[in-house]
Amino acid sequence: MSSDVTPTATPVKTTGLHIGYAEPGCRKVDPILVADGVKRTFGGLTAVDVQHVEVPRGAITALIGPNGAGKTTFFNLLTGFDKPDEGSWEFDGRSLAHIPAYRVARMGLIRTFQLTKSLGLLSVLDNMKLGAKGQTGENLFRAILPFLWRSQDKEIEAKAEDILARFKLDTKKEDYAASLSGGQRKLLEMARALMSDPTLVMLDEPMAGVNPALTQSLLDHILDLKTQGMTVLFVEHDMHMVRHIADWVIVMAEGKVVAEGDPHTVMANPAVIDAYLGSHHDSDLGAEDPEHEHVLKELLDDQQ
């Protein structure tokens, strides 16, 4: 479907990711992340209850679903920022249960946050340099001997400047991150995540608050990650974007995975439309909600 060669604009989609029928929890040819029976409740509310899900390696996977579906909670569970009531999950064949968040990150699974976490009173460049792994000077005793870490620090700085230039933040590098706009902070957080050469990047709503002109370049950045061999899992509400860059889509609703498949098939799936409609009915008892209507229109548009 996506291999029709219009110049530049249409990204090359990766296909043939799954084994068998594209149903919720279907197996992947080469999964990088596998979750099994992961459940998280807050009091009486079951925020996440995922039977089985696999994220394909080397592809861009979108995780979509209505507000409150449990996407962010699922991200937190996978990355060690929250603990599930039960369940197991593994990354690259290694179990991640009971592994603290910082170790998960060191294993190559880097995430960003829905509510941007830029380090306000650090310069943009320092934000970036903090992202690099295995820094000699981060040890207290080696820190006092600059000749031990100076050259490594220079390399890290060069790399940071390179990535900043790609994200068009290079002119801001000496400024405090707190002085950046909301959208620029999203960019910085994503750029910072790349400093550690992750194998899997998990982005929680990378486009929220980013203006349309920048959206295009952000999309290109994400596609670029795939070309560089990274796997991307991202949460997004913008269906156009999902359709544009995702190779695979996982749909969550009320904590469960309700559908999976390539973007076009998934968006035509009645279960998905149900998910959005269902939450609409639940929350608003039939009142008109322009936002959901918009999403639905997009979904229906796509069917034609």
Binding site: P100, F113, K117, G120, L122, D126, L130, E138, P146, D153
Partner: protein, 328 residues
């Protein structure tokens, strides 16, 4: 008539007094905790007490040499930091504040109680531990030597020299680590520890390192503090911690020289006001006030002076104005 010369000369003496050095060092420890890492340690007085008592008890009860007595104090404060940090550093910042304030009070009460009188001297405290340190004094002159208002005997010069050398070494050490990648992680934790965690840094370990390091500075400060005086438990009340916080905010929380300048300003002002008020009362300028009341007035005046500085220079004397624009 008021003797202005004596007032200014006494105030000037505070610039290099060992007490100023001790407060500067304790405030530098708090700068590491609060200014750089964002840890709310309200128990710096406890760390200082461990230094004072660790040194004095090792010397008096166990007859340790100076270096061993110093090590005992430092060791005790590392253990204290671990006890405070292990249960609280994984929790929200306020838990550390509560636990440190309580732990420091517990320490003070343990040192005050009669139960351990033979070791701690209970409420009267300890003295007579200075021999070993005095014996290391390279100065051998008789009488007082110096320039201007700074005229001291050999022992007084020796404690000033050692006190300020320790402060300078600690400041250089702090400067080195804060400009290194280690300091970058620490400052990142102050801004948002989850973001730092997501980048693969062991936040818990860094917070612990910071708590220990700043605590050890407080402990060394406690040792300098007792060189010109006796060890008295009443000195280690929570108000001591608050004075050190005042000094830190006065000088600039996330700066190296701020705590030092803050301590100097604080003590010079305090000495100036107490000298001035005492003489003003004696000269009959303040007829409505007794000497005892006048003794309290100096703290009020210092408080007003600090308030003025904080209002007109909220980032502290050496703080970075730019940072303030972004305080949430």
């Amino acid at each position: 008539m008021i003797d202005w010369g004596a007032i200014f000369s006494n105030a000037a003496q505070e610039l290099i007094s060992p007490t100023t050095a001790a407060y500067a060092l304790a405030a530098l420890g708090l700068a590491i905790h609060f200014g750089y890492t964002g840890l709310l340690n309200f128990g710096q007085a406890g760390f200082m007490a461990l230094g004072a008592y660790g040194y004095a008890i090792s010397t008096l009860t166990f007859h340790f040499p100076v270096w061993a007595a110093v090590l005992v104090g430092v060791g005790a404060s590392v253990v204290f930091a671990l006890i405070l940090g292990i249960p609280t550093l994984r929790l929200r910042a306020d838990y550390l504040a509560i636990v440190t304030i309580a732990a420091a009070e517990i320490l003070r009460l343990l040192f005050t109680t009669n139960t351990f009188d033979s070791v701690t001297g209970s409420a009267t405290g300890l003295q007579g531990y200075k021999g070993g340190f005095a014996a290391l004094n390279p100065f051998t002159f008789e009488g007082t030597v110096g320039f201007g208002p700074w005229q001291y005997n050999a022992y007084d010069w020796w404690i000033r020299l050692v006190g300020w050398i320790v402060v300078i070494l600690a400041a250089v050490f702090t400067w080195l680590i804060m400009r290194a990648p280690w300091g970058r992680v620490i400052k990142g934790i102050r801004e948002d520890e989850d973001a730092v965690r997501a980048l693969g840094k062991n936040v818990y370990s860094y917070k612990m390192q910071s708590l220990i390091l700043g605590g050890v500075f407080g402990t060394l400060a406690g040792m300098i503090f007792v060189l010109p005086r006796a060890v008295v438990p009443a000195n280690y009340q929570t108000s001591l911690t608050f004075f050190i916080y005042a000094i830190l905010l006065l000088g600039g929380a996330a700066t190296i020289l701020g705590p030092i300048v803050g301590s100097m300003v604080f003590w010079v002002l305090l000495s100036f006001f107490s000298g001035f008020i005492a003489r003003a009362v004696a000269a009959g300028w303040l007829p409505f006030m007794s000497q005892v009341q006048a003794g309290q007035l100096r703290f009020i005046l210092v408080g007003v002076a600090i308030m003025l500085i904080v209002i007109f220079r909220p980032q502290g004397i050496l703080g970075n104005k730019k940072e303030l624009a972004f305080v949430k």
